[in-house]
């Protein structure tokens, strides 16, 4: 298990999502990557009932890379996020809690598609859909032997550029640059994560961040003004 970076892919003007996926697949295979099956990451959000005080949200996520695990992130509504990694039984527990937490079915969102291996890299071309509506392409790239982003970011960047055909910004992706953390004194501080040891929950956090962005978008992402000198945007930060 190594460092993972999520990169939204801006679909070139005049192309459909399926065409873009097809294009990227061909580029990957030409590079020497091997197709190794499918993947799925989904996210469902539960909102607490109003009689239980201020509104809280529980995001429940599954990642096919961790088939027997359910990840959940409790959003207290005060900017604090508490992650919980449990086994699959947690899903049944959520069903028992319908009186407290109700699912916002219309925001159930998922990213799924093909999974590729290139050396020790794991690359996933995800089509993001919410309620059967296509929202965009989200690329996941993992360099499995390395546990610190600082060490391998240039490697990841080079591989991304080699099959995306666009320049990827030199800066670390937003998720790694500055995260608000609560220190021992109870104060909030900004903490750069690029030197930290990477953990599976970091991937889940990144998915949640991007899913939240997609949920906020009302328009389809197909239209993009830049076409030739397009540089990848790592997405807005969610606080």
């Amino acid at each position: 298990m190594g460092v993972t970076v999520l990169q939204p892919y801006q679909i070139p003007e005049g192309k459909t999502g399926a065409q873009a996926i097809d294009f990227l697949t061909k580029r990957l295979l030409a590079l020497g990557a091997v197709h190794t099956g499918q993947f799925l990451v989904d996210c469902e959000t539960y909102i607490s009932a109003p009689q239980h005080g201020p509104s809280k949200a529980v995001h429940v996520l599954h990642d096919s890379e961790y088939p027997v695990t359910t990840f959940s992130i409790l959003d207290t509504g005060t900017g604090k996020q508490i992650p919980l990694v449990a086994d699959n039984l947690f899903d049944l527990l959520m069903l028992k809690m319908t009186s407290v937490y109700t699912s916002k079915k219309q925001t159930k969102i998922e990213s799924k598609g093909a999974r590729f291996e290139y050396g020790d890299f794991l690359i996933k071309l995800g089509s993001v859909t919410m309620m059967e509506n296509f929202k965009g392409i989200l690329i996941e790239i993992e360099y499995r032997p390395c546990v610190v982003l600082f060490y391998c970011w240039e490697m990841i960047r080079e591989v991304l550029q080699s099959f995306l055909g666009v320049t990827v910004a030199k800066e670390y992706p937003g998720y790694f640059t500055s995260q608000p953390v609560v220190n021992a004194m109870g104060q909030q501080q900004l903490h750069a994560k690029q030197h930290d040891i990477y953990e599976p929950i970091d991937t889940i956090n990144q998915y949640l961040e991007h899913f939240t962005n997609y949920r906020k978008q009302n328009i389809m992402p197909q239209v993009s003004s830049q076409s030739s000198n397009m540089s990848m945007n790592t997405g807005m930060r969610v606080s």
Partner: protein, 297 residues
């Protein structure tokens, strides 16, 4: 005591006589300066005459000193060998011939070890560079297969130290040590020693288990399987049975350059990734990173 001083003075006089004679011969061998002028010739002759008279004078000095010496009345103390002469038991009088034999034996051992040393230095396993020692200094005899249990411990806990690397010496299997090295947050290596020689190296990722009971499974990552292959050729390159300490130290310095395994682009092609792998080879001398396919072109 006075006799001792006299003896010392005589020995010194002999020494200076020898050096004067040597100097004189050297001068003769050098001959005159390049141009055969009359001037040069006379100068040479004068110098020689000076040297010659100096030698004569020193010779006379030596002779007078020798005449002044007196045979010592007290026999000098010769250590335990004096007791040999006092031995009266019949069966121990054969000691002398035994001593001579063991002397001969030691001489032979010395000769054999010298031959062995030369043979070992013709190291067939070293294939990357031919190494030729220019120094013909004193030969150090270190036994490599009679492990001194403290040697490896000392080496790794005192002599060898690299920032970002943690060493741990384990001695599960008799006296042979296994050294675990954790290099930065990049990789783990198990260095299996036989005596003071490195016998095998296993390389794994930072997140992979590396235990004393399981030293032989390969890494699940291609990059570390490649690095392990390279450590084996480096191990053979640095192998030096006569200077095991230097071999281990050089190898560890080389291995430590992998702390930047993912951080440095290839020196040849300038890229980070080639065939899905970072530059997995490190030059044995410069420690520069290369892709496996870039190192030979």
């Amino acid at each position: 005591m006075a006799n001792m001083e006299k003896l010392n003075a005589t020995l010194n006089a002999v020494k200076s006589l020898r050096s004067s004679v040597r100097q004189c011969f050297e001068q003769l061998a050098d001959g005159t300066a390049a141009e055969q002028t009359e001037d040069n010739r006379t100068k040479f002759l004068v110098e020689f005459q000076e040297n010659y008279s100096h030698i004569n004078q020193q010779l006379r000095e030596v002779e007078t000193l020798i005449n002044g010496l007196q045979p010592s009345l007290v026999s000098s103390y010769l250590g335990n060998t004096t007791y040999l002469a006092q031995e009266i038991t019949q069966d121990r009088q054969a000691m002398y011939s035994q001593l001579v034999n063991s002397y001969k034996w030691i001489d032979k051992v010395h000769e054999h070890s010298l031959l062995a040393f030369n043979n070992l230095n013709l190291n067939n396993l070293r294939r990357s560079y031919t190494y030729c020692s220019q120094k013909r200094g004193r030969v150090q005899y270190t036994s490599c297969n009679n492990p001194d249990p403290e040697f490896i411990d000392n080496l790794f806990y005192n002599d060898i130290s690299h920032t970002n690397t943690i060493y741990e010496v384990c001695r599960q299997f008799s006296s042979n040590a296994v050294v675990f090295a954790t290099i930065s947050h990049v990789l783990k290596a198990a260095i299996i020693c036989k005596g003071v020689l490195i016998e095998w190296v296993t390389v794994k990722g930072y997140d992979e288990p590396m235990e004393i009971d399981d030293l032989w499974t390969e890494s699940r990552y291609e990059v570390f399987r490649k690095v392990q292959e390279h450590t084996h050729s480096a191990m053979l390159h640095f192998f030096s049975p006569t200077q095991p300490e230097l071999a281990v130290k050089s190898f560890m310095t080389w291995l430590n350059s992998y702390s930047k395994l993912f951080l440095e682009p290839c020196k040849r092609c300038g890229k980070y990734v080639s065939n899905g792998l970072p530059p997995t080879w490190r030059d044995l001398r410069t420690l520069e990173p290369f892709h496996e396919e870039c190192k030979n072109c």
